[in-house]
Subunit: 362 residues, 2 copies
Amino acid sequence: MATMKDIATRLGVSLSTVSKGLNGGQDISDSLRQTILDTAVEVGYINRKAKKQDTRSVAVFIENMEYEKADQFGYDIVLGFQQAAYREKWGVTIIPADHTLQKKHKYDAYMLQGKYSAAFFMGFSLDDPWMNQLADTSIPTVLLDNFIPINPKVSSIGTDSEEGIDMAIDHLARLGHEKIAFLNGSAGSTISNQRMLAYLNSMARHHLPIDTSMAVYGYFVAEAAKYHVPGFLDQGATAILCGNDLIASGVIQCCNDLGYSVPGDISVIGFDDIPLAANLRPALTTIAQNRNELGQCAYYTLHAMIHNVSLSKNLLRPNLILRDSTAIAKPRLVVRRSNDKDTVDNVNPELYSQFAKQQLLK
Amino acid sequence: MATMKDIATRLGVSLSTVSKGLNGGQDISDSLRQTILDTAVEVGYINRKAKKQDTRSVAVFIENMEYEKADQFGYDIVLGFQQAAYREKWGVTIIPADHTLQKKHKYDAYMLQGKYSAAFFMGFSLDDPWMNQLADTSIPTVLLDNFIPINPKVSSIGTDSEEGIDMAIDHLARLGHEKIAFLNGSAGSTISNQRMLAYLNSMARHHLPIDTSMAVYGYFVAEAAKYHVPGFLDQGATAILCGNDLIASGVIQCCNDLGYSVPGDISVIGFDDIPLAANLRPALTTIAQNRNELGQCAYYTLHAMIHNVSLSKNLLRPNLILRDSTAIAKPRLVVRRSNDKDTVDNVNPELYSQFAKQQLLK
């Protein structure tokens, strides 16, 4: 294990200069401090405080995710992480980490200077400056909803999208829906790609028709709905699964604007179960991520990684929360352009009456 | 929380009878003991000893997996689990659980009677009697290489097959291999299905030709090779990826018997890195599962689940261990049946000389 002396020898400076560089002393230049930190990382120096288990300190870096109020997505994740960490007497520091911070400091050097022994990243995307540096960091690091290949020191956590989407499609199929559209979040995000694959797999597993024009990427905002919902309705969709609850709120609004009722004409399902979901009209059926558990999971994953267990991917169970935005599929007359062969589509009165009967018998 | 008194009231027996039933007392009948245990499970009784964290006791059930000697697959997994558990003062009991045991006892009742607060299952398959009962158990349970949907009390651990197979295909592609066959383990196992999907995805990602007759299920034994290797060779395979190291040992033998040298003519890659792998001639390049870490991961997963974090899937990083069974792809003249249109296949001298040059420059 490298010591402060190794750093001093390598740079030809005194031990006290190295100590100032590592511990935030005042009377050395910023560039020398940076050189000392970079060298410390290079030789594999580990701060004594970070080494001692009973005073372990971890950093939570947050980028592009709201977390300060109880109704924001990140709030419960941070809370869950803190609860689990405090139970084992770890110190937690919350650090907003925008591009400016990430460009100013190298990741390993920042961690060393702050005496953190591990970190949890929330809300980052693959184009954040620090993400490239994770390919060869030696600091145990857990990412929410992102994935870095190969490096055994970096692990991912998230909610099992495959199971969540399968539960949603299963619920819709039982209600007699066949033409189920999927308005996903932004293209290029790890999580969106997983969810698209999950949707296609689940539709196939349920022997439902897959029409690629009914499975599209949008953005993680309500406004995404108006660009895609009219097309879905034209093609006879009776249900729309959404990449998150905000998109779902836009889809409900858009259906209403076009004269369709939710869930009377169209069923809508969201993803996440943010506090907004229960307050929509109709209240939103959604695939819930347990955010407190996500935070706790991040802690337990770091805990294992500090003991040299090289985790790769860790997924939590989702829950399908049934509210008022889904109902039995209503047969729809879809009148298409007259040069189409099929002018009437998706009418299956037999199936409809069968489901209606089951519903009445409950 | 239900108490012993609740069980006594429900059954109309005395408290001391209930206590005998739960704690293995002698002078009650087997059928009454079973009724008491079943009722205890039904009312949600949790044994006081199992509730107290500092005396927690966990069961490791092993079915159809060798683990008693250091060179057997399960040995290091059990060891890793015990090491992690003892670090936090948990007691570990190893229990061989064949079908007889599983048929004799219900899972929840067995756990209650043994005062175990959690369990780790190794070597089970989906047709084991206890697997069905896991759909609604309330006891934190972790499965190696199997998956139970929905139930938040049951979680899976394993090695990330997708990443491991991608590393192997990547290694072969860099050596100039294009026709890469995959002799998988048994059909119907969760892990085999994941690996087949991973192979197909990785071949596609590397823009390599996918021929479904080159991607087949066999069995997890060396003998599987002789049924499939001749076909692979006839079709011009220059590399064979295998579902485990035993299959790979059979593949090497089979290639030799047919007059092909490994790795001169055919490259072979295994999966697992059991001790046998390094002792084969040639020593086997293989996708390693770190079995000690798998055991530790099982413990950390149970630890999180006992704190009500509902984990679903947890994967460890694999390692590609490079030994002597892989080499630069050798152009092969494949003479097929004369009524085939292509009589010569897979000859790419340009690529070959390019790789040969790179190799010489090293």
